[in-house]
């Protein structure tokens, strides 16, 4: 899991460079509260041990923050943690893409997280697992829309990966559809149309006589007794093959 990988990296980094241990806010690792708890519990013993970490290090079980913010993603934007980390600036402020040369590629990376592996320098949305792009947390979505023009920022401007950008545009469209985000309404003038609804296509047509009288639509839908002459003629032709007389079915 991304959480475990972050914790492992944090622990080994802290082990290698003891002076980094107090530095809590490493940009690329999520600041899970349980990480600091673990460091406090086993400050020195773990650092100098050569044995590999156990298969599944303890996940942050106590708070279960991810599912809490999944239900109500807007609550995270009011927590102290968020304000401490981002302040008043948007979540993508200060993020810098790593690329060769002066001009960045016009498309950001396809996705930061492939299966269990996280890319180095993840994008602003992927690096903070508590940020959920949901159509209901309007405050987060508004950070990605220009307040002057109403246009969504290009991913090269904000640094988000293409997968998150797609989810972001879907969330913005859904929020606009539900009336949570305001946007510029296209101006539609109603042409002078005839609204009298008198043309046959939309007015009441009287039903066909056979429908009204409950008669069958085609006469042959119901059994039509053939004329006696024809019955007699056919009986005469097949006289030798007739079985016992049975009435018409």
């Amino acid at each position: 899991m991304a959480a475990s990988r972050g914790l492992v990296l944090l622990r080994t980094a802290a082990g290698n460079l003891p002076w980094l241990a107090p530095l809590r806010r490493l940009f690329w690792a999520q600041t899970a509260p349980a990480a600091s708890l673990l460091r406090l519990q086993h400050p020195l013993l773990r650092v100098f041990s050569t044995e590999a970490d156990p298969a599944t290090p303890a996940e942050p079980v106590a708070f279960d923050t991810e599912s809490r913010f999944k239900e109500k993603p807007w609550e995270y934007l009011e927590t102290e943690e968020y304000i401490e980390r981002y302040g008043e600036k948007p979540v993508w402020f200060g993020y810098r893409r790593n690329h060769k040369g002066a001009i960045p590629p016009q498309k950001t990376r396809k996705t930061c997280i492939r299966g269990k592996k996280i890319a180095g320098n993840p994008c602003p949305v992927c690096r903070d697992q508590k940020l959920h792009l949901d159509y209901r947390n309007v405050k987060l979505l508004e950070q990605f829309i220009c307040s002057h023009t109403g246009v969504t920022f290009h991913p090269t401007h904000t640094g988000v990966c293409m997968k998150q950008y797609k989810r972001l545009t879907q969330a913005i469209d859904k929020a606009r559809d539900h009336g949570l985000l305001s946007f510029r309404i296209p101006w539609v003038t109603l042409q002078d149309e005839d609204y009298s609804n008198q043309h046959q296509a939309v007015a009441k047509t009287p039903p066909a006589p056979s429908l009204q009288s409950q008669a069958p639509w085609y006469s042959w839908y119901e059994w039509q007794q053939p004329p006696e002459k024809d019955i007699a003629r056919i009986r005469k032709i097949y006289k030798n093959y007739l079985k016992e007389e049975t009435g018409p079915a």
Partner: protein
């Protein structure tokens, strides 16, 4: 069309006389000015029957009440920014530019039609029971001739039971949007028009936006259009937010709705508080046109009242919130007196 076959030509002569009894309602609904036969019939009927939204007198009163605030109509919208342009003009050029702006504003303030709800279509054209069990889905046949008006387009549905029927209004709107897409209209109406989401929109004071969206999405005689408009007007009346719609094309429709339901008190108070005496008198006269049998209408006709006296008579006989209107009138008259003294 081949699908309808021979029986249709038998019905054409049967269908024509049926059109006449509906003329009164249908023509009342159509948009027309002066020259059309429809509004002439309206003028003849207006003495006997209720006056219509499209009457000249009613329209002129509504336009006067809507106002013409150029600053609001041409306010800057959120869009792609480009550097501003500056023009040096003489006084006459400025007057000419203002005149053109007023002309364009009048075009933008053209009111959308107010119609009664359309009657549902449920006509069966044929019943071919032999087709039962052959198909599992409905087939919709749409006439896509480019030149036919959408209201004259034939759209029929063949059900899996073999019944050939005319498409309902919702199906019609959907198919026409598929083949002739209109800008701003979606195939499926967005959930913003549901009642719970409308409340969210009203809380943010975006009544004009939702009404513009409604005009883009629905036909003027559809149930959804009427419902959304009525909800919006009710909310505005409840919170006295009349100023949001002033100088927009929706103000006329709102006033028509309120006057028809005799909920004019809030609007009257708002007008007096904003010192719009002419608008207040227009409102009262519109009320008298629509309800000629009420007391204040008869009193006004007998005594030929104008201005504040008209409002006072109206207030005493028709309104529910006499106290508030009296207070507002008092404040207005005091302000008038003090400004005259100055």
């Amino acid at each position: 069309m081949a699908a309808l076959g021979a029986p249709r030509c038998l019905w054409r002569c049967a269908a024509a006389p049926l059109g006449l009894p509906r003329a009164g309602r249908a023509l009342a609904g159509s948009r027309g000015h002066g020259q059309d036969a429809g509004s002439e019939a309206d003028k003849k009927e207006s003495h006997a029957t209720k006056p219509c939204f499209t009457d000249e007198a009613v329209q002129s009163l509504l336009y006067k009440m809507t106002g013409l605030d150029l600053q609001k109509i041409f306010r800057p919208l959120k869009q792609e920014l480009k550097p501003p342009t500056y023009k040096l003009m003489t006084e006459s050029e400025l007057a000419e530019a203002t005149r053109k702006a007023i002309q364009e504003a009048k075009e933008l303030l053209k009111m959308s039609p107010v119609l009664s709800e359309r009657e549902p279509i449920d006509d069966v054209l044929a019943e071919d029971r032999i087709l039962e069990g052959t198909e599992t889905a409905k087939y919709v046949f749409t006439d896509i001739t480019y030149s036919t008006p959408h209201r004259e387009r034939f759209i029929v549905v063949r059900e899996p039971t073999g019944v050939l029927r005319k498409a309902t209004w919702e199906e019609r709107d959907r198919m026409i949007q598929v083949y002739f897409p209109r800008e701003g209209r979606k195939l499926v109406p967005p959930p913003i028009f549901k009642d719970e989401n409308l409340l969210t929109v009203f809380r943010e004071d975006r009544h004009e936006d939702i009404l513009n969206l409604c005009i883009a999405q629905f036909e003027p005689d559809s149930a959804n259009y009427i419902r959304v408009h009525h909800r919006t007007y009710d909310d505005i009346d409840k919170h006295a937010k009349y100023h949001l719609l002033r100088s927009t094309r929706h103000f006329g429709g709102m006033v028509w709705y309120l006057v028809n339901r005799k909920k004019t008190d809030g609007l009257l108070i708002d007008m007096i508080q904003r010192n719009l005496m002419d608008d207040a008198t227009c409102l009262v006269s519109l009320y008298h046109i629509l309800h000629p049998d009420c007391q204040s209408a008869k009193a006004a006709k007998d005594q030929v009242l104008h201005g504040v006296d008209l409002i006072k008579v109206f207030m005493k006989t028709e309104s529910n919130r006499i106290g508030y209107i009296e207070l507002a009138l008092q404040a207005y008259q005091e302000a008038l007196a003090s400004s005259a003294a100055l």
